[in-house]
């Protein structure tokens, strides 16, 4: 695969030493120095906030993708967590994953916790790998590893949580893993992965404008 030389700037790690680039404008040449290192600049706060808002908005737009299992719904928020992680590092992925599901805590508490777990397991490993391999291959490997972790979290979570919502035993849920849970999550993560992979070049153009 072609090396694109893509560099998404990194403002994620709080104790970041040298690699904060153009995106963190308060650290740039025209900085007034008010936000010094080790603290979050207003730029970072604003970017996290907008990404959280995006992921929240996306998390409310859910739709079933597999016939027959209407309670398993697809939503796009995972893509935003992945992009946040690629663009701004694992910390951003974590924050966006967690905060974006907090409103759901007051509507569907167990479901929210599970969604947070799946999001974190998907996006944080992907971001960690991409941070070390800033290439298209790195992104691909990151996504694939993230998908594996995400699958584990999703299926494990379902085993624990489904009995709370439906009169089923864990064994009954276990029987659904192969016919229902695995294919659903595979489809879900496949869409996540493909879309993230496709939008990542144009978005990096945006970030490095």
């Amino acid at each position: 695969m072609k090396e694109t030389g893509l560099i998404m700037s990194d403002i994620s790690d709080t104790q970041n030493q040298s690699d904060s680039h153009s995106r963190d404008k308060t650290q740039s040449t025209h900085s007034t120095g008010v936000a010094d290192k080790g603290r979050w600049s207003t730029q970072r706060i604003a970017i996290y906030a907008l990404f959280v808002a995006l992921a929240m908005a996306a998390s409310f737009i859910e739709f079933p993708i597999m016939p027959g299992v209407p309670w398993l719904k697809y939503d796009l928020s995972g893509i935003i967590c992945l992009v946040a992680g690629f663009a701004f590092g694992p910390m951003a992925a974590f924050i966006v994953s967690v905060l974006s599901w907090i409103p759901h805590l007051f509507m569907n508490p167990w479901g929210a916790i599970m969604s947070i777990a799946v999001s974190v397991f998907l996006s944080v490993p992907a971001a960690m790998i991409y941070k070390r391999m800033r290439t298209r291959v790195g992104a691909l490997v990151g996504i694939l590893v993230g998908v594996v972790f995400g699958l584990i979290a999703a299926i494990g979570g379902n085993l624990l949580i489904t009995p709370i919502y439906a009169h089923m035993t864990t064994v009954q849920v276990l029987k659904m893993v192969i016919p229902i849970l695995l294919p659903f999550n595979l489809i879900k993560f496949a869409i996540h992965g493909v879309v993230t992979f496709l939008i990542y070049k144009p978005i990096s153009n945006l970030l490095n404008r």
């Binding site: 007034t32 936000a35 600049s41 906030a49 737009i61 905060l99 508490p109 919502y165 493909v194 144009p202």
Partner: protein
């Protein structure tokens, strides 16, 4: 600044604490600023001590002194500012003018202390903030506390969802005590005439109101100098006046004002006018400046006044072939002279209350089409008795509206904000459906379209929405422009041909391989329009295509309209510029506007996104608008599942639940919600239901309100019930559907699982309905704060959360617009092959990200302008204190839990049902 002639002084003389607030204004802020900020800048710490002698009182009569300023965005290849010297005296009102890209916004940021130059020296309010190539962060920080900044985009400066809390944000950052904050909030809202809106949601207000709230937020910090960067650029005329009035009062009070503007009428009150060009500044006299601006902004000068009269400022029409008919040429329109100049049957006003359709016969010579007015063929667009109302609105945006657009015609649609112009474009392109009436476009009845009709419509009608550049998504301009044609199943050659032609038509062939995000604003607009032209529409609908463009780019669009029309394309164009309408259109249709409520003290004073929501707020008839970028909206998508927040009226006498400490409430409610899942028998269910009912009553929430908030979840609950019923096979069968036996245990499980989940949702609704987002996020931050010692940025996380909640509806609405826009180019995620759907998804997701990043840039500036930084000592306007009622609440809930647990473990035996 003296308290006597301060703008707030005209508030109410009987408010002693108002003056008190003024007097104590600067003291606590200064002290804490010094105490809390750690100095990391070793470079500047030495300078700091010496420069610190320049105490604010010691300004030599200058608010700002800049000399030899150079500023480059590209590391020195070109200079946005090249050797600027600028002295601003205390109390002066200065206007900065200059063409787009002349560096006036950059200079404004330097003066506001929000950015540092590359070279030169900057002294702000006596602080020597930048000298010998180094910024002195400590001094910058101090200067900033007394400098306010207001920016172009009103919505992005609103950072929370309650007006009072938003205004209080700055004073909180100055660590003022709650009492002072209260008086600051009151006096600043009073100064901008927004006092009645204290508890309203600013994100749903008009651009003008939002801008006044943003100004109030700055005033509440008692700045000595205010820097405003085109604060009226996105506002309509009336809102502009409101903002200028506030500025006049500030000027009288002695506040230094630096005002970046491009509107000639805003220069009049200036003490001095500076023009920036090629990185240099020249001082202009009033007359020179007025002349300069009216030349560069010829397109903006014709304006629609509030009373509906079009001011014809430039009667000389360049197009010499225009056939002039004196009585129709004078486009004076008044509300009651309705049918006099109606001469064509194609435009008719059926309901004079809501619509005034005028027809002004002008350039009717169309070389390509002969005389389109008398064409007997089918009209390109026809509306018959169409009414349209937005959901949640009590009035029709369009009422019994009829019109015809003949093939090959150019029709301009004009009218004030909120009269339904953009609605009209949505109806024409089948993005919205009318409540009643028939719409036919390109021979297709939009009321009864087949899938194929829809496809034909998409390929024959092009829609250029407001600010179409926000739909750009691809890696290159060429790919972006190709998106529409490639959705039409054309062979690759034909697509390429279309793309080349469209790029050539807009004169941007040279940009084909560039990333659209690297282009200037004007170039982006042209590229986005090319993307629609490439679909080869027979009918082109443009919504304010030249808004915000400079003369050169506007001229390209004029030429485009003429060329396309010469090729027979029918054009419907929304514009605010009478001059533009007269130059391009065969006919002008002026929309009158929706019926105003009796209480409507003024007409809609927002801008842009016309008529989208005419009745968002019950209290005012003027909140019906959003900011130009469609920011402040309450679209159906955004609020679908979110329980709507507390009604401002009930908030005035808050219930006992609403007055609980938010931290307590958060924790207790979460515990209640999680433990509700333990309910496993009918008596337990009864107990929990009782608890929820008691809480709802204590929260003063009626069953109707609760039900309304729950509506979104009903389907989910129903599905859950059915699944439970079908999954349980044990017990006595009651009925059998095909092979599925429904057993009594199944029914029981369905009832239990559905009801307990329903109760959990109700608990969540009670919590959200009785707690403002600010209180929630404050509580959230406070609960997290012990984690601070592990390096977690708790205060910042709370702010991130608060901002996210603020921008959630904004982004959802923008997303909806983008989805519509891409759908109009033939991209749909609902139909087609998986590859096509994913491609459509990409075309939607990328612009949404672009929008989020654009907002984040503005938000970060707004946070800076309000002196937010991490680690500062902030106060909270609503101090959180645990009181007796909180303790009682906790005890009662603990009692409930104890009973529930004992029911579960069987300690408390209850007769089994």
């Amino acid at each position: 600044m003296t308290a006597v002639d301060h703008p707030y002084a005209d508030a109410k003389p009987s408010e002693p604490q108002s003056n008190e607030g003024l007097a104590s204004a600067y003291l606590p802020g200064q002290a804490s600023g010094k105490a809390r900020i750690h100095q990391k800048d070793t470079d500047s710490s030495q300078e700091t001590s010496t420069a610190n002698a320049g105490h604010p009182s010691d300004t030599n009569g200058f608010a700002a002194q800049l000399s030899g300023i150079r500023f480059s965005y590209d590391g020195g290849k070109s200079w946005a500012l090249n050797g600027i010297d600028l002295d601003i005296r205390v109390g002066e009102r200065i206007c900065l003018v200059g063409p787009n890209g002349s560096g006036k916004s950059t200079l404004a940021r330097l003066v506001a202390g929000l950015a540092a130059p590359d070279d030169g020296s900057v002294i702000l309010l006596g602080f020597n903030v930048f000298s010998s190539g180094t910024p002195h962060s400590d001094l910058y920080r101090k200067a900033r506390r007394d400098i306010g900044a207001v920016f172009q985009n009103p919505a992005d400066q609103i950072i929370t969802t309650v007006v009072g809390d938003d205004v209080a944000f700055g004073p909180e950052n100055l660590a003022l005590d709650p009492k002072t904050i209260t008086s600051r909030v009151d006096e600043s809202l009073d100064a901008v005439d927004m006092k009645d809106f204290l508890l309203d949601d600013p994100s749903r207000m008009s651009g003008g109101q939002q801008q006044r709230i943003a100004i109030a937020g700055i005033l509440a910090m008692h700045p000595k100098m205010i820097v405003l960067d085109e604060p009226t650029a996105m506002l309509d005329l009336e809102a502009q006046h409101d903002v200028l009035q506030v500025l006049d009062r500030l000027q009288q009070s002695g506040t230094t004002i630096v005002h970046v503007t491009h509107r000639p009428e805003e220069l009049k009150a200036a003490d001095r006018i500076l023009s920036l060009e090629n990185g240099k500044s020249i001082e202009l006299s009033q007359t020179q400046a007025a002349l300069k601006l009216s030349v560069t902004n010829a397109d903006d000068t014709g304006m629609l006044k509030p009373d509906g009269v079009i001011i014809d400022e430039n009667p000389g029409i360049p197009n010499s072939s225009v056939e002039k008919k004196p009585n129709h040429h004078k486009p004076i329109i008044s509300k009651d002279s309705s049918t006099a100049d109606l001469q064509k049957p194609s435009a008719q006003s059926d309901d004079s209350r809501s619509h005034q359709i005028r027809n002004q016969n002008k350039a009717s010579q169309k070389p390509a089409n002969g005389d389109p007015q008398h064409s007997t063929g089918e009209p390109a667009i026809s509306f018959e008795h169409v009414s349209f109302r937005y959901p949640k609105s009590d009035i029709d945006t369009l009422h019994d509206f009829s019109m015809r657009v003949e093939q090959g015609e150019v029709v301009a649609i004009m009218g004030r904000n909120g009269t339904g112009k953009s609605t009209l474009t949505r109806l024409m392109t089948a993005l919205s459906k009318p409540g009643s009436g028939t719409i036919k476009v390109a021979g297709i009845d939009l009321g009864s379209m087949s899938k194929r009709d829809k496809k034909t419509l998409r390929s024959s009608v092009g829609l250029v929405m407001q600010q179409p550049e926000r739909q750009l998504f691809a890696e290159t301009v060429r790919q972006d422009v190709a998106y529409g044609p490639s959705n039409q199943d054309l062979p690759q050659e034909a697509v390429d041909q279309r793309v080349d032609r469209a790029l050539a038509l807009l004169g941007i062939s040279g940009l084909a391989e560039r990333s659209p995000f690297s282009l200037s604003g004007g170039q982006q607009r042209l590229a986005a329009i090319a993307g629609i032209i490439a679909c080869d529409p027979r009918i082109l609908v443009l919504d304010e295509p030249t808004a915000g463009l400079d003369a050169t780019a506007s001229e390209r669009i004029y030429a485009l309209v003429r060329t396309l029309n010469a090729h027979g394309v029918t054009i419907v164009m929304i514009t605010h510029s009478p001059r533009q309408a007269r130059q391009l259109a065969d006919r002008i249709i002026t929309l009158g506007g929706p019926v105003q409520n009796d209480s409507g003290n003024s007409l809609n004073n927002g801008t842009g996104d016309d008529g989208n929501r005419n009745t968002c707020s019950r209290k005012t008839s003027q909140t019906g608008e959003s900011a130009r970028d469609g920011n402040a909206t309450s679209g159906p998508l955004s609020r679908k599942h979110l329980p709507s927040r507390e009604d401002p009226k009930t908030a005035r006498q808050p219930s006992i639940i609403a007055r609980l400490d938010p931290r307590m409430k958060l924790v207790v409610f979460l515990v209640l919600m999680f433990t509700s899942f333990m309910v496993s028998s009918l008596p337990q269910l009864g107990l929990t239901a009782l608890m929820v009912i008691v809480l709802a009553a204590a929260a003063k929430l009626g069953p109707k309100r609760l039900f309304r908030s729950m509506r979104g979840f009903l389907i989910l609950l129903l599905v859950m019930g059915v699944i439970n019923m079908l999954f349980v096979r044990t017990g006595k069968p009651l009925v059998t559907f095909w092979n599925f036996p429904i057993t009594d245990e199944g029914v029981m499980a369905a009832i239990l699982y559905t009801c307990r989940f329903g109760l959990v949702i109700l608990l969540g609704i009670i919590l959200l309905q009785t707690t403002t987002p600010t209180a929630l996020t404050d509580g959230f931050g406070s609960l997290l704060s012990p984690l601070r010692r592990f390096g977690l940025h708790t205060q910042e996380l709370a702010l991130v959360m608060s901002l996210a909640l603020r921008f959630l509806p904004t982004l959802a609405d923008e997303a909806r617009n983008i989805i519509d826009a891409q759908a109009a180019r033939g991209g749909s995620i609902e139909t087609g092959s998986p590859a096509k759907r994913i491609k459509a998804l990409v075309a939607i997701v990328v612009p949404i990200f672009a929008g989020a990043l654009r907002h984040s840039d503005n938000v970060s500036l707004a946070l800076d302008a309000q002196s937010y930084e991490e680690g500062i000592h902030r106060t909270h306007w609503h101090a959180m204190r645990i009181s007796g009622k909180d303790i009682v609440f906790v005890i009662l809930c603990a009692l409930y839990l104890a009973v529930l647990l004992s029911l579960k473990t069987g300690i408390l035996s209850v007769v089994r049902l």
